[in-house]
Symmetry: C2
Subunit: 83 residues, 2 copies
């Protein structure tokens, strides 16, 4: 997984989850400092439809395994306090 | 929601998600400092089965709306860096 590539790919994510991985929207989770393995599992579950969400499903379906690995590594690398 | 009550109710959660809300298991998410509204949505989705998980489903089914509110408030109140 490539953290820098994940950062590049994360611009869409940032609209809801924050540029620093801290969501501005209470319904949406913070991603900063979250477990990398969990983030990848969540994105794959959205992609394959086992986790259903009208926002995340269509976006996750655009992602390759490599994209998911890069995004998970990037958000896991961020400071969980948002700094 | 009652943070202190949430702490009391959180002992089962701590087995996987950590006493400080930082999971010791890479597959499982950190909860410390997560958005309160998101945590409540997640627990309700596990409870009603719209989010399917063999571990979380049966546990969430034990929870009342008040339990969920208390647990969400408690984990949201924890330091996201785990301190």
């Amino acid at each position: 997984a490539d953290i820098d590539a994940g950062k590049t790919k994360s611009s869409t994510c940032a609209n809801c989850h924050g540029r620093n991985g801290i969501s501005a929207i209470p319904m949406y989770p913070n991603l900063a400092g979250q477990k990398e393995a969990y983030l990848a599992i969540a994105l794959k579950a959205y992609r394959d439809g086992t986790r259903k969400n009208m926002v995340m499903g269509p976006m996750a379906q655009q992602l390759s395994d490599e994209d998911i690995a890069d995004l998970a590594a990037y958000f896991a690398s961020l400071d969980p306090s948002g700094k």
